[in-house]
């Protein structure tokens, strides 16, 4: 069996799905791309059993066949070739692949295509279509807040909450939380699921360069995302997402409004002087002044900065992990931010102060550290 394909277009499609491949697989077949060749089209699949990605490439081909090709070997070859047509000659009996370029010939050992795990089907799914831009932003704004704790798998993903009025995306690691809500997209009925981090990162990377509509299908156990000629299917995280609404404080009488960039760079500077393990900084609000300080008693480091801000409420002092604040402030893109607080032992809530689009709502919550009074 033979087919002819452009090296660069093949590489581009393969790179889109190659993120699925794991470094150390339990099944050797998973280190391969599955090539399913039909007339004038190839369907390539990569999988790690949890997540499967499929892409289609148009080629010049007359025959049909199926084979698994070693992924790393193929990618490395394609990366080092300038754009040119390549001829693939596949011997399905001997499981050998020969690639012919302008420069010479390369031989790869293949694997039986039928051994490749079947791509899971999403049975009796609910369907939803959203703009690529929306999905990209939803992932980008939330994923950094998700956790890494193996003991609490539900928090290692992003919670998709769909309703007839809006779509809400939530991520938390129990120390910080992000809630991203869009009112310009709706679902036909109320539903929710928890997406693992890995497929979301893969989606984010591809969506960055695409503005097509994404078709989402999901049921209790799996979800699929289809757009252009790429399809991603993954297993959902099983479990109940914590009741996050209950822990977002509603009454926050102390409100701070401040320029985002100056706060961010100030915290970045001050945090250099904080403990290297806890990254703790103190914010002290009084009048229209915000004082940011940090110290590392083990090394006798100490830093203190003052910023102008507008503050409504009672004077207070609150401690945070500066890493969380830096991540959150960097993830927002407005000129000014609001930080709403109630007590030193209660969550602080970050929201963009200006330019929050009508159909987009971002709420970031960060838990303080327990300061000695």
């Amino acid at each position: 069996m033979k087919f002819l394909v452009s090296s660069s277009s093949l590489l581009k499609q393969l790179q889109n799905i190659s993120g699925v491949l794991n470094g150390n697989n339990s099944l050797p077949i998973l280190d391969h791309f599955l090539f399913e060749i039909s007339e004038n089209q190839i369907q390539v699949t990569a999988s790690d059993l949890e997540t499967t990605m499929v892409t289609k490439i148009t080629v010049d081909c007359k025959e049909e066949g199926i084979i698994a090709i070693p992924a790393k070997l193929l990618l490395d070859t394609l990366k080092s070739l300038p754009d040119q047509p390549l001829t693939f000659t596949i011997d399905t009996e001997k499981k050998s692949i020969e690639i012919k370029s302008d420069y010479g010939k390369y031989k790869l050992p293949g694997q039986e295509g039928a051994e490749f795990p079947k791509t899971p089907e999403v049975e009796s799914p609910a369907v939803l279509a959203v703009a690529g831009e929306l999905l990209y932003n939803a992932i980008d704004k939330t994923i950094f807040a998700s956790g890494n704790d193996d003991l609490r798998p539900v928090m290692s993903g992003v919670f998709f909450q769909l309703s007839k009025e809006d779509l809400t995306f939530v991520a938390t690691d129990a120390h910080k939380l992000v809630k991203y809500r869009r009112t310009d997209a709706k679902a036909s009925k109320t539903a929710s699921f928890i997406m693992p981090k890995k497929p979301l990162n893969l989606l984010k990377n591809i969506l960055n360069s695409s503005d097509e509509e994404v078709k989402i299908e999901f049921n209790e156990t799996n979800a699929s995302f289809a757009f252009e000629d790429t399809l991603l299917i993954c297993r959902l995280i099983d479990g109940k997402y914590p009741n996050y609404e209950a822990v977002i404080p509603k009454e926050n009488p102390n409100k701070l409004t401040i320029e985002r960039m100056s706060l961010l760079s100030s915290i970045k500077r001050v945090s250099i002087f904080s403990s290297k393990t806890t990254h703790q900084v103190r914010l002290k609000m009084s009048g229209s002044e915000l004082q940011i300080s940090a110290e590392d008693v083990d090394f006798d480091n100490e830093a203190k900065e003052r910023l102008k801000c507008s503050f409504n409420g009672e004077d207070m002092e609150i401690g945070f992990n500066s890493r969380f604040l830096i991540e959150m402030l960097s993830n927002l893109n407005t000129e000014e931010v609001n930080i709403e607080m109630s007590a030193p032992n209660r969550a602080g809530i970050l929201t963009p102060a200006t330019g929050n689009e009508d159909n987009e709502q971002v709420l970031m919550l960060v838990m303080p550290v327990m300061l000695n009074s």
Partner: protein, 403 residues
């Protein structure tokens, strides 16, 4: 050339007691645990004449010297006297190290030309004795080891100066046991090799010492030559905090053990919070009546909250305590300490709990750390310490106990 002054308060605990009660003067005095398991923490020179020495079981000391006055001692009082001495040294010396409650090293390098180090040291000693009323001895030499051994030789209530170049001949006639680093075990090993005097070590090839005692052998050999470049460190960083307790009578009472462990964990957690520290590693130690000692540790996310730490301690104990044998000692240690405060968890830590801990800590700060306790820990008295463990000072070993 380096110059180091070592100061040591003579039979410190006894001297303090004598200041408080002059009836003790010129009488044999024993200070230490008064129970059957107690050991002598300090004894007067009159008692030493009967063969009593510190770290000896109190029972044996009483047999040797039945007419001695036995005092349980109070480490708080001794700390106060120790602080008086520390203040005098602090205000006079450029750089000093408080290596224990009654010992000080002062770096006097470079002072000779301006003050006359020996004269200055004698004046400092007089001033300390005048201000505290406590007898003190010193050794002045070129390194920590020689200075310390010198003080030991000068005692009681005297001083000595070992000049540069004379260290070797000063050390030579002394028994090896006098050197710091040489304890009972090493002493025995050296004796078996036929080494009695430091002189023998001085004349031995360093390779032989290294082969027998490893790395320590090398440093012992160097110190025996009078070479000791250990710097004076003025700050002791706490790497861990711990409490342990030896029972007067061995026990298998699980509830009592759990109650004591809870009290220990509760107290240590308070110390953590008070010192703005977090711990990332908890360990529990059990010594059975047959002296087999087992310990188990667990790494946890950094915290200083009672409930997390107590839970970890108890679950470690439950897996550790497997032999059905009487328990002699139990202890709790928090290590992997970092500066900081507990990061509040959105779902696990309720606001009420955090506020409760802060309120409890406020009560303890005002009325002492025994003012408020968990009910389970109520029965275990006298667990904990009186001072902040994170002030860079050496550990004060309670007078009625010995590490």
């Amino acid at each position: 050339m380096k110059s180091v002054l070592h100061l040591d308060l003579d039979s410190f605990f006894v001297s303090c007691e004598r200041l408080l009660d002059s009836k003790l003067n010129n009488r044999p005095v024993l200070i230490g645990g008064t129970s059957d398991r107690g050991v002598v923490a300090s004894c007067s020179y009159e008692a030493r004449a009967f063969g009593v020495h510190s770290a000896m079981p109190m029972k044996m000391a009483r047999q040797l010297c039945p007419h001695a006055v036995v005092i349980r001692g109070n480490s708080g009082t001794y700390s106060k006297f120790s602080d008086i001495v520390t203040d005098v040294i602090k205000s006079n010396s450029p750089r000093f190290e408080k290596s224990s409650i009654d010992e000080f090293y002062i770096d006097t390098t470079g002072m000779d030309r301006f003050y006359g180090t020996y004269k200055w040291s004698k004046e400092l000693r007089t001033q300390i004795m005048k201000e505290s009323g406590l007898p003190i001895s010193f050794g002045l030499s070129t390194g920590k080891t020689t200075a310390k051994i010198g003080t030991g030789e000068a005692k009681p209530n005297n001083f000595i100066k070992i000049d540069e170049g004379e260290e070797k001949s000063f050390l030579a006639p002394l028994p090896v046991r006098k050197m710091p680093m040489i304890g009972a075990k090493t002493n025995q090993k050296l004796h078996l090799m036929g080494i009695q005097k430091i002189q023998t070590i001085q004349e031995m090839p360093v390779e032989l010492m290294t082969r027998v005692l490893g790395k320590n052998g090398h440093s012992i050999w160097k110190k025996a030559q009078g070479i000791d470049n250990t710097p004076i460190t003025s700050y002791h960083e706490k790497k861990s905090i711990s409490i342990e307790r030896t029972f007067e009578k061995d026990t298998t009472d699980i509830n009592k053990l759990r109650s004591i462990l809870t009290a220990m964990a509760e107290n240590l957690s308070y110390q953590l919070r008070n010192g703005n520290k977090l711990s990332g590693c908890v360990s529990v130690r059990v010594r059975y009546s047959d002296f087999i000692t087992e310990s188990k540790q667990l790494h946890i996310p950094y915290t200083s909250l009672d409930n997390k730490l107590i839970e970890t301690v108890i679950s470690l104990f439950n897996t550790l305590y497997s032999r059905r044998v009487l328990v002699r000692l139990i202890g709790v240690r928090f290590s992997k300490l970092v500066g900081g405060n507990h990061q509040i968890n959105l779902f696990d830590d309720s606001e009420e709990l955090i506020n409760l801990y802060q309120a409890l800590d406020n009560i303890r700060n005002r009325f002492g750390q025994d003012a408020v306790k968990r009910v389970v820990a109520m029965g275990s008295k006298g667990i904990g310490r009186s001072s902040n463990p994170f002030n860079g000072q050496p550990i004060v070993i309670p007078a009625h106990r010995r590490a």
